[in-house]
Symmetry: C2
Subunit: 453 residues, 2 copies
């Protein structure tokens, strides 16, 4: 956890809070508006209703906008309910349109429309456009505030003009070169612009090997692309090649976090129940379908044991190895699953292909089966005094581990290729499947050789 800047934080926070409580407007404004927005947010979230009201009175909606941007959704909603319509309009006329869209997407239509109508016309039109894209696509995460230039512009003029265009832009570190029809014909990094001779024209120094994404590209693919090229921003174009927005690296970092949480989520089949900010009941509701389904799977697994009741009645000690078979099959399968799921998520298999990973996991399963087999052949005779029992358990585990690593590796590959519900590749599903396979293998072998026990 980041505790690094706590010392500094308390330093400045004390002074700011003091000025706020004293209602010393000038001092408060001086101190507070000088802070990094994130530090402003850290102070704001500690305030009670009365102090929040005092703060709203001391700084305007335009100034509060950067604080609002940094708040979590629930807090944002609360803040909106505390403010006058006019103050709210000031906020939404200041923060970047993509952030407005993200927020409004979470509100009911009535409330969203009310805010949209209170905004400047040109901005509300942009927000409405952004809201029209699916949330998890390039269109849904892009910003509309980018800087465009022309091939015929002179370097020194571009730098001069940036003085006026920069303050409203999401990033000025890439300048986008448009042809007369609005098509993207080149990109110029601010770095290349600064390095270039003042009298040079844009057309001569811009990059033309442009990587673009389309509005409908999945946000995860956008993130991978930007990671791959180490981009700080990527241009988003329409199907006609017209530049319509940019995705910046900070949005992509948030996407990466989201996608990892989703992967974890699917992996353990929690189905959205991973958000720690929802209540117990809500979390239980989301997870219950899976747990209940697992109970039915449990009946199937139990049914397998039931099928071999006769063998169990003859040799009750066989039951003692049920956990060992289940745990080993489950864990080996889950490990293979995790390896392949991560490999797909990070594209680290792009070159060698997924088949390579499946073969690797199968090899690992065979090796693990051999190792554990040897361990069991030594330990079981010592604990249970029976070498026949050891042979039965060791050979069952060898077969089980080999099968379960393949299952764990193959299922996510198949799902990735076929676009089936990825939940099937979740840990619990794979585990249950492997449990059943493992127990069938074990009891079949045990029943076949039961007269040696």
């Amino acid at each position: 956890m980041v505790k690094l800047d706590e010392v500094n934080q308390t330093d400045y926070a004390t002074d700011v809070l003091h000025a706020l409580k004293e209602q010393n407007k000038d001092k408060f404004r001086n101190l507070f508006l000088d802070l990094h927005p994130q530090n402003q947010v850290d102070i704001f979230v500690q305030l009670n209703r009365q102090l929040r009201d005092q703060l709203y009175n001391m700084i305007g909606g335009e100034e509060f906008a950067s604080v609002f941007e940094g708040l979590e959704l629930e807090k944002q909603k609360q803040v909106i309910s505390e403010l006058s319509d006019k103050y709210v309009a000031h906020i939404f006329n200041t923060i970047p349109t993509d952030e407005v869209a993200d927020f409004l997407a979470e509100l009911e239509t009535v409330h969203a429309n009310k805010i949209l109508n209170s905004m400047n016309k040109d901005r509300s039109m942009i927000v409405r456009e952004l809201l029209s894209y699916p949330i998890e696509t390039a269109g849904g995460i892009m910003a509309k505030e980018f800087v465009t230039i022309k091939t015929t512009d002179k370097v020194s003029d571009v730098i001069d003009n940036l003085r006026f265009t920069a303050p409203d832009a999401e990033t000025i570190y890439y300048l986008y070169v448009l042809d007369p029809k609005g098509k993207l014909s080149g990109v110029l990094s601010l770095r290349d612009l600064i390095i270039a001779p003042a009298f040079e024209t844009v057309g001569n120094i811009m990059g033309t090997d442009i990587v673009t994404v389309t509005t409908d590209m999945d946000q995860e693919d956008v993130a991978k692309l930007m990671k791959r090229y180490d981009f700080l921003a990527v241009p988003v174009v329409t199907k006609e090649g017209l530049l319509t927005g940019i995705v910046t690296v900070d949005d992509v970092i948030d996407v990466m976090d989201e996608e990892v949480s989703e992967d974890f989520d699917e992996f353990i089949a929690a189905k959205g129940g991973m958000d720690v900010n929802i209540s117990s009941i809500e979390a239980a509701k989301k997870r219950a379908p899976w747990i209940v389904m697992l109970i039915f799977f449990g009946f199937i697994t139990g049914g397998v044991i039931g099928q071999f009741e006769e063998s169990l009645e003859q040799v009750v000690v066989l039951a003692a190895f049920i956990p060992l078979i289940m745990d080993s099959a489950g864990n080996a399968g889950t490990q293979s699953l995790a390896v392949v799921v991560r490999a797909i998520a990070t594209d680290s298999l792009e070159k060698k292909g997924l088949l390579h990973a499946v073969r690797r996991e199968f090899g690992t399963g065979l090796t693990l089966g051999l190792i554990t087999g040897i361990v069991l052949l030594i330990v079981v005779p010592i604990v249970y005094g029976s070498f026949s029992l050891a042979l039965i358990v060791a050979s069952s585990l060898f077969i089980t581990l080999s099968i379960s690593t393949i299952t764990g590796a193959v299922v996510p590959v198949l799902i990735n290729k076929s676009k089936l519900d990825p939940a099937i590749a979740s840990g619990p599903f794979i585990t249950t499947f492997n449990d059943i396979v493992g127990l069938i293998v074990y009891f079949t072998i045990a029943t076949t050789f039961i007269h040696y026990l």
Copy 2:
């Protein structure tokens, strides 16, 4: 998977490959050197030894440097072995010193020293310094190529000077303001520099609310800090406050990927066996200790069943519910574990505290226990025709789920606070623990009420 730019890629790749095979040096250089480095890499990795040699002959070490940077470690080692010492020296005198250090850290000392000695003195000194920091700290990932300015510098002069300093800098999007003693006294973003009037001095427009990190800060904390503030770069200072390096956002994105893989790794106790690029045998070697340990845990769990052999002999059908109890306990625990591990990793609990998450998980466990209890009270009598059996299984599962969600949530919190080996918080460990608890609860209840069956 990113397949988006494949169409473009084949377009240009064909021409480039053609020029290379034809040994048309001018055409090849024209096409190849115009490409984005990542696209150069994509082409290079497809070449066989002969074509690689032709490529080395057509472009110099300085030009090949950007390709080398983008290669994976194993490929980099291979390339080095194919090149003359002089060509290698050119490469390492061109790529950023932090990348040199990252590469040399993976070589044997003899080879690393040979390369260091072939480099320019000033650069090799910097690399030696970078190599002296632990790999997973700010010092280990920082770059030494940053731009410094003085408070008295005029805006227009700074912009002019950037023409000369920018080409070698890792980023020019932040300029660092040093006092005469080399202490960091302010930061100026290129954006603020561009916006400022040409005659203004740096001291009047620089930011003084500077967030810094120290060389020994863990890379994961650096990543979190940069994410929190949406920084493109953060300055690294010594304990004396002297600016010694910067960490840029592209390094941090790599760190995030690494840390997520590590989390997954720990979560499934694969212990580094997740890397798909190692062989089956190596992967098995890394995972075997855990799987073998699990076998011994399996003996313990089996021992619990052994303890209740008498009950089992009386009512064999009890064995049919072993999988159900084990799977439910295991999964509920793993879900809670994942929720809390992710919450710790993303700092999403910073404000509410980890206790909140533990309470939440316990509440979820109780609710899940109630839901599954009701399901069992309906289903078990139908399948097994015994309401007493249903009561035993349902109450056991209710207690088990409540306990296992707590275990799953509390263990990572304790480990996070106490700096114990996080492997204890891995899925298999938690699962085994919960299996044992679940079976003890189940068989104790079953044995107590066995005369009702």
